[in-house]
């Protein structure tokens, strides 16, 4: 019985982290899948969101800025705003760059943010981190039931972000954005303000990445610079989107859950390795994930759920004679 409930709560923890990854993946899908913006600094915006929400919701302490004790939902909103504003500032500088340069610039910015987090202890308590970060409805629940509450909370937010992403995708705005992604010159020749679209896209994506960061801080109740590992955030999220299907919101969620499940399973596997191999386990897992991505992309070139043009709702009336022009 305990074995079974242990397994159940293991599954819950996988689904919570999977939900947070789904958010990141949806955000990246907005930026890359729809907008063609190569954000290789996802972890930077994730970290901004995490620290913003942590600082806004924790009680007063001498160790770092804080004492606002705001409700958690306010922390999430704050995370979205600060990450979005940072994204806006980055976009102001980088949005004109070609995609490979944007990738380099965003890696650099994420690295700068990491150094700020490690070194500005008055703000973040440096490498000692922030503790006592509250959970939503933490006053009413504790222990394992609290995980279930948090699971629902995370997936509620995934649902909201998914709905927003779908509306963005299935709209003239999304269509023009995908047009810009496919050919910037002819989109401009069709009167599209490329920079405006890209800035909006980047800001929206970064805000959602910030929300994901905030949720992860609340989940672990503790936040230190080690939570902002580019390998575990940026790299894995890219793998998820590529495998799931860039340009497809459902694909983003499927990719996030699928890859995270595999990642978790490989942990069980690498834990059984002899001790001299155990230290190398993270590399082995990376290798396995890399091989898997290769396999998926060989089989499904555009990911498991490829990009699909949104339906046009006029088809039923389509055959009526067009108005004279």
């Amino acid at each position: 019985m305990t074995e079974l409930s242990g397994l159940f709560f293991y599954l819950v923890s996988v689904l919570i982290a999977g939900g947070i990854y789904a958010l990141l993946c949806l955000a990246l899908n907005i930026q890359w899948g729809m907008g063609g913006l190569f954000n290789a600094g996802i972890v930077g915006f994730f970290a901004i969101g995490a620290y913003t929400s942590a600082i806004l919701t924790t009680p007063e302490t001498a160790k770092h800025l804080g004492g606002f004790e705001l409700p958690i939902f306010a922390g999430l909103i704050g995370a979205a705003i600060i990450a979005g504003v940072t994204g806006w500032a980055v976009a102001r500088i980088c949005v004109r760059l070609k995609s490979d340069y944007l990738a380099m610039a965003s890696i650099g910015i994420a690295e700068i943010l990491r150094l700020v987090i490690v070194n500005e202890s008055w703000l973040t308590n440096g490498s000692l981190g922030i503790s006592g970060i509250p959970r939503p409805f933490g006053e009413y629940t504790a222990g394992r039931p609290a995980d279930l509450v948090f699971l629902a909370y995370v997936w509620l937010i995934v649902l909201i972000v998914y709905l927003v992403a779908t509306r963005l995708y299935n709209s003239p705005w999304g269509r023009s954005l995908r047009a810009i992604r496919d050919n910037e010159a002819s989109a401009a020749a069709a009167g599209k303000n490329v920079e405006r679209f890209r800035t909006q896209t980047f800001v929206i994506g970064c805000a959602f990445m910030g929300v994901a960061g905030a949720l992860s801080a609340h989940y672990f109740r503790f936040l230190s610079p080690s939570a902002t590992d580019p390998l575990l955030v940026t790299f894995l999220v890219w793998v998820m989107l590529m495998a799931g299907g860039s340009g497809n919101n459902r694909g983003a969620i499927v990719g996030a859950l699928g890859i995270w499940a595999l990642w978790s399973v490989t942990e069980i596997f690498t834990n059984r390795l002899p001790p001299e191999w155990a230290t190398r386990s993270s590399f082995i897992r990376m290798l396995l994930v890399g091989l898997l991505l290769q396999y998926v992309l060989q089989k499904f070139r555009a990911g498991i759920l490829p990009e699909k043009s949104p339906p046009l709702h006029f088809e039923d009336e389509a055959e009526r004679p067009a108005p004279e022009k």
Binding site: V164, P172, R175, R178, A190
Partner: protein
């Protein structure tokens, strides 16, 4: 409608356009001809804003637009097609055309998330316009195909369709005929004349087929080696010695043929 004044364009050491000035008259169909590498496409890029001239000014309806970006010029009613098709390759043909239309309500990101009703009528009108254009271009059977999978000629038609979706004042057509079958090409010529006569839509077209040019254009500009060689009616230009020289060799331009 369009006036170039003393335009020069340098690409590194290469002078692609050398002090070119000309007018594209409002309500006319103007041809732009010349041998390969004459600078015709570059001239279009200067008009559309894709290439910034080293010197000179571009006027649109009397207004200096030299400093405007391509999208701003497009919003003022200037449409163009590309010589090498620039389709939105992961969008369907229908989406390619619809994406080209201007959609101020539907491209507002706030409306898209919070006020879905605000752009319904606009979208409907764009859809009808796109369907009509697709029917005219005989692309109905590939309407839901991704544009990247089309043939070269079909992509050209998508280019034209997108330009028509803009409801522009002037369309620059860069070798729209290359790769399109004769029957459709002839229909296109009819449509271009019709649009010109009925709606007063101005055209400027680059084309290598002089018969096609003579069928459509009253006025022709001839470029060679980055210079404006001459202009006039097709017949006058055809018999101009410098033009013959430029096309068939001899004299100043021989070395470049």
């Amino acid at each position: 409608m369009i006036r170039l004044e003393g335009i020069c364009v340098d690409f590194g050491g290469l002078r692609a356009i050398d002090h070119v000035s000309f007018d594209v008259g409002a309500g006319a169909i103007t041809g732009l001809i010349g041998p390969n590498g004459a600078g015709k496409t570059t001239a279009f890029n200067v008009i559309a804003g894709a290439v910034r001239p080293t010197a000179g000014r571009v006027l649109f309806d009397g207004e200096d637009i030299t400093g405007l970006k391509p999208y701003q010029r497009a919003q003022r009613g200037l449409a163009r097609t590309f010589q090498i098709p620039h389709e939105f390759y992961r969008l369907t043909v229908l989406e390619n055309l619809m994406a080209a239309a201007s959609a101020p309500e539907g491209e507002n990101v706030f409306n898209v998330v919070f006020r879905r009703r605000s752009f319904g009528a606009e979208e409907r009108a764009i859809y009808d316009h796109a369907r009509e254009t697709i029917r005219f271009l005989e692309l109905d059977h590939v309407r839901d195909e991704k544009a990247g999978n089309l043939s070269g000629g079909q992509k050209k038609l998508v280019e034209l369709g997108r330009a028509l979706m803009r409801d522009p004042k002037i369309i620059l057509l860069d070798e729209i005929g290359a790769g399109i079958n004769r029957t459709l090409l002839s229909k296109l010529a009819d449509k271009i004349s019709a649009l010109n006569e009925e709606k007063g839509l101005t055209f400027c077209l680059i084309e290598h087929d002089l018969d096609y040019v003579s069928r459509l254009c009253s006025h022709v500009l001839v470029m060679a080696q980055g210079e404006l060689l001459t202009e006039g009616t097709v017949d006058a230009v055809r018999n101009d010695e410098r033009v013959i020289e430029a096309y068939f060799g001899g004299g100043k331009y021989e070395a470049h043929l």
